[in-house]
Point group: C2
């Protein structure tokens, strides 16, 4: 074993790999800050467009800056023919996250700034890429259902246009606003697995599209972005409020986990969960379908009680718990929950990729290249004698 | 600042993040081991197919095992229509690494084992994916040049079939064998940036295709897999052996780097560099075109001398230095050097992804989720007061 700093088997938890100016998560107090601003204020008063500007630029936009920002992103609500053609040929069962991860790297081939590695050029790449993600998701959903894609509308918000292109009808303004708030809440969360994957790839000087594609891969994992759809599958499996208590009790007593409860970083309520709880409640009232909100709330209460009994500890709702019922009531298909997460998180990813590329918060680090301990193979700790294939036996 | 292990700004260099059984790099002695076997022995006596079996299975195959392995990979020398269609529509200027990163995630949509997360199923996914990478690269190169793709031949080796599909004519056996050795040499190198990106994505429980796509992104960066084509661009820029000494001297005196020289891990000669030097020399003799080998050798000598003078230290050739002239003499276009690296490294990536998924060398870690220090924004170390957009001024 060679010398080195040993952080094996902890998944880098608590290992500080960089400085950042983009966001801060105070897991003890349950505070989430985007570039100095509390997520509670941003969710209440800002739009996804404003928050994306903030994450990318280090200050909230003035009205004029926001107008310019919008005039750059709205015309990018389109995707190239090559991707449309691929979608027409793909099996209808193709997972939307896979389609998204596939589409992003070649988007760069249409970008006149692809090989320009300045902050300005990367910002331009971001403003081209960000508006395309919702289009890719909505278009793939239409194509796989045998429907014609819906053309984008330039008079709608980022959030509203996505809901419109998905369903083909205009969303009611309250739902569009609530969905916008969901995008604000999911836009950034420090060095989570997908953001770190994006930064890691950017650290090799790979371009922004390649880096975002890596982040998409990480987000697709069920331990990360896949968790919100797992929550929905749980809600559907339980099906009735009256079944929640026994379901939760059995699950926890068997040592299982309740999806949407508990967080690696927050040891109190995730501030996003509280906002999403209210959105879920409002949607239940508006749609008249209270069931999914009520099941979710009952799961939260039952899990907290049972957890206290079994472990003598508190557990809290995380961002995924109420997202599931919210998206479901917005008629978003379950397997688009993670792509919706991506549509939002792309702002955080690109802010981090730019921070990594231009060392905006720290001295320029080398590319991320960790070490490992070689623990040997079947024929010994170090070396095996090479035997030509003719003389090998099992 | 919160507590934690602080490894900021070193790019995780020397930070041990896991145990592994797959390979060992002894940077002091210049030894590279794949699952117990010295790279020197493997390069001399094994094929890429044997080495891939070894990396994936922890032992070298018997003749029968190798036959079975080949009978599984050879029929997979084909790519789906959806990707062919996309290629026909892409701009001819699309970077081959971007096309590769784009193609891989949707290959999973055709895999009947996609959602099966066992070691066995992941091995099957690997045996479907690995043979498709050379096809993707060769087909894209033909399409972008306005030529028809060449159909694969099942009687050729993995290496030989790639060269055949690229050029449309059978490679001479010595060249096919030398190219095979290049694939052996590039197949695995512990926790480099692309392998780590692949493991990181796999740690979220993302599937193997999504994880490989992330690794492809990292490899595309010029600090990682892009280095071999940078070497070729340098050879082309220098153009003549007589210009080498002054070029190298000027470069180093201005504080620049000579591509292909020096390595983050090896402090002596990279064992792969020595083997590639011989292959380059043999190719120069065979083709009668000695220029590229001679320029490369002169660069190595001049850089070592100049480095000794300026820094008083030794510097050695790395794996990229001689790869460039080798691939060039094999008529591989410069921008396919990195894709060729990927065709080979996919064996190491998938071995690592499987090791990560099934915790084969260590207790199961959580997903990789590092920490960072929030160093504040323009309006202070922590929080800014939220001002509604109507009242904001610059």
């Amino acid at each position: 074993m060679e010398e080195g700093i040993d952080v094996k088997n902890i998944g880098l938890r608590g290992v500080k790999v960089a400085d950042t100016r983009i966001s801060d998560v105070d897991g003890e107090k349950g505070i989430l800050i985007y570039r100095g601003y509390n997520i509670i204020d941003l969710a209440r008063s800002s739009t996804f467009e404003e928050v994306s500007f903030l994450l990318l630029n280090d200050h909230l936009p003035t009205q004029e800056e926001l107008k310019r920002f919008q005039s750059e992103i709205v015309p990018e609500r389109k995707i190239p023919e090559a991707i449309l053609e691929m979608m027409k040929w793909l099996p209808k069962s193709a997972n939307p996250m896979d389609v998204l991860q596939s589409a992003v790297p070649v988007l760069g081939s249409y970008d006149p700034h692809l090989n320009e590695e300045t902050r300005e050029a990367n910002l331009k790449k971001t403003l081209r890429l960000m508006p395309k993600l919702p289009i890719l998701v909505a278009v793939w959903d239409r194509i796989r259902k045998g429907k014609n894609p819906v053309l984008p509308r330039s008079d709608l918000t980022h959030a509203g246009n996505f809901l419109y292109m998905l369903s083909g009808s205009l969303p009611d303004p309250d739902t569009a606003r609530d969905f916008d708030t969901c995008l604000v809440l999911h836009a950034e969360h420090s060095f989570n697995a997908s953001t770190f994957a994006g930064r890691e790839v950017a650290s090799t000087h790979a371009h922004l599209y390649a880096s975002v594609a890596a982040a998409l891969g990480a987000l697709s994992g069920e331990l990360h972005g896949g968790a919100n759809s797992e929550v929905m599958r749980m809600l559907l499996e339980i099906g009735e409020v009256s079944r929640v208590n026994s379901w939760v009790r059995e699950k926890l007593q068997k040592g299982g986990k309740v999806m949407g409860m508990g967080h690696a970083v927050y040891h109190t309520e995730d501030p996003r969960a509280g906002i999403l709880r209210k959105i879920s409640q409002k949607l239940a009232e508006r749609t008249g379908e209270r069931k999914w909100y009520e099941i979710t709330e009952a799961i939260e209460v039952a899990t907290r009680e049972e957890f206290r009994k079994i472990k003598g500890k508190e557990i809290y709702a995380n961002v995924d718990l109420y997202s599931a019922s919210v998206y479901h009531m917005m008629n978003i298909p379950v397997d688009l929950f993670t792509p919706v997460f991506a549509i939002s998180r792309v702002s955080g990813w690109t802010a981090h990729i730019i921070e990594e590329k231009f060392a905006e918060a720290q001295p320029k680090a080398e590319l991320y290249r960790p070490d490992a301990d070689y623990v040997g193979t079947y024929c010994g700790p170090q070396s095996c004698e090479y035997v030509p294939i003719e003389e090998r036996s099992k």
